[in-house]
Symmetry: C2
């Protein structure tokens, strides 16, 4: 963990490559969001889709947590469902309800009608946000781009929103694998192009969010998901920037997530960091894995939990401190800031 | 798997004790329920709480799947939240919304006010259902009693209903462990007495449903849950009937669930049966673990999935075929029946 040289570079990017760092790098999933008063001030005047589609607003929101928290990376402010809009999905963020898709896709004809996407045209506002943020950050803090993974996007498209049992998603898998693979192939194509475009616009790392893939058994993951996520990571590796592969509930999927790709695998809090890293093998970096609810705990309890994770990492090269999932809306900002400092004391 | 002698006894109870069976026993969580037309006919005239509180109705609903499906065990029709009512919880099943608790408990005073429960008095209707069902089954098919585990019950009491992040539940754990343990101790006392009373009324096995415990890390399980569930299994083992310990999302918790207790550990579909059994050790029986959505698949695909589970069980003594969670409301009855036959072909 000791390298004077590391101090002048990005400890986040060094950790992604499992190189020595001066202390454990930290960022948080959903570090820009409703828990921050600066964000709520902008959100009071603009809808989520407005913020995402106006690069100056999206860039400002991306930068807020970098200024306020001292995190070691910025992550693009956007929504994983944005690339679905140019594909032909009629998406709405209903107040307090999460995303609603008014035209869920459940038939071969529906899948066939989904349009290909040219990111530079129809997602140009996101790429412009990447460029604005990079200019603003001026090389000091790296910027992470991201996208939703094909499975997680497919689950929204098919269910029409968030889901508890993924009934219709799995029904398509099991009853009509051809249509399923066609849909996944289309999504993988869009996501790969979108992420590569983000890298070309300046993203210095990317994260693929397969947030809900943990509802699958390993056999189903291998058959219905792995080849599609693998295509994305294969195309990303040609760009040279590190890729983070994240999901929740993935304890039994870890070797397959690694096989699909990514220089860094994200772990949720159900998987103890040392258990998960051993299951993956130490030839890959890991990211995680504080329970987002721990940020609501009294300070001493929060500190005990941050320290436990650092101890499980055991000073190995390639640990990025993060939560096991996104920051929750009511999280106290002071605790988020304190967690950054605690992780940084790990030198 | 070959014992002529086993045929004349209950293959379900024999499998719980890891004794030879003539073929793999089968039952399904939520095998009595909305997917069955016979159940919907009764539900059209009575609320869920009415059915639970009238022993003749509850017994009838308990027996419906035994008659219709040929399963190897009946499970008492009841709701895991019933014992909360005499404790002082104001519970309602709102249409299509799941349970709503109008007086969620989040303070030391609220926990202190929860009343102890004498099952023979305030849950006498459930015990009467057990007696009625036993009389009806006449020794041919064993009856499983059940209760919710302290953690899962606590999560409903504290959140006021179902939850996604268990924010308030974990907040009590982390910020006020004394109140948490007081609540869990009270729940464990009620659940232990309730299950022992079910056994005394005639239940020949019991299942403890810790359905939502998989939202915890192993460290949190050990500290905040294990001692309370352990008390229940300790008192159950004095009764001599086998106990099944079930949860979902438990891949990293399995050794701790076994430590807490149970002759049989339930696995969900995220955990391959052979992986899970190895993690537990083969000195305990296992139950599971078909994805409930597989019951919606075309027949050949369903058969492939049932066979895969039987192959993972590998003919070891102590496998009870079941789903990884409860039957979903729209499940086709014919597929449930077919799955029973497929599992029985495993001799």
């Amino acid at each position: 963990m000791n390298s004077l040289r590391a101090k002048s570079e990005s400890r986040f990017l060094r950790a992604c490559r499992r190189e020595p760092v001066d202390c454990t790098p930290v960022w948080f999933m959903r570090q820009a969001g409703r828990y921050m008063p600066e964000y709520r001030a902008i959100r009071a005047k603009h809808s989520l889709l407005e913020i995402c589609s106006q690069p100056d607003l999206a860039a400002e929101v991306t930068l807020q947590p970098v200024r306020a928290l001292g995190v070691d990376a910025a992550i693009l402010f956007a929504d994983i469902l944005l690339p679905l809009i140019p594909m032909g999905i009629n998406l709405e963020f209903a107040a307090g309800e999460g995303p609603v898709i008014h035209n869920p896709i459940r038939t071969p004809a529906g899948v066939a009608a989904l349009r290909p996407v040219e990111p530079c045209d129809s997602l140009g506002h996101v790429l412009e946000t990447v460029r604005l943020v990079r200019r603003e950050l001026d090389g000091k803090t790296p910027l992470i781009g991201f996208a939703g993974a094909p499975f997680t996007l497919a689950s929204y498209i098919i269910e029409g929103g968030a889901s508890r049992n993924y009934l219709k998603t799995k029904q398509m898998m099991y009853a009509d694998p051809h249509t399923w693979h066609t849909l996944m192939g289309k999504l993988a194509r869009v996501v790969a192009d979108y992420l590569v475009a983000q890298v070309e616009a300046g993203a210095q790392a990317v994260q693929l969010f397969d947030s809900w893939v943990g509802c699958l058994s390993p056999d189903d993951y291998r058959e219905y998901v792995l080849p599609h996520s693998q295509l994305i990571f294969r195309e990303l590796s040609a760009t040279g920037v590190p890729a983070i592969h994240f999901g929740t509930d993935t304890a039994t999927l870890l070797p397959l997530l690694k096989e699909a790709g990514g220089e860094v695998i994200g772990l949720d809090w159900r998987t103890p960091l040392d258990w998960g890293w051993r299951a993956l093998g130490f030839d890959v970096a890991v990211q995680g894995n504080l329970d987002p609810v721990a940020l609501f705990a009294p300070r001493a309890e929060l500190e005990r939990r941050v320290r436990a994770i650092l101890e499980q990492a055991g000073g190995r090269l390639g640990h990025i401190f993060n939560l096991g999932h996104g920051i929750l809306p009511e999280t106290p900002v002071a605790n988020v800031k304190a967690a950054v400092e605690m992780a940084h004391e790990s030198r």
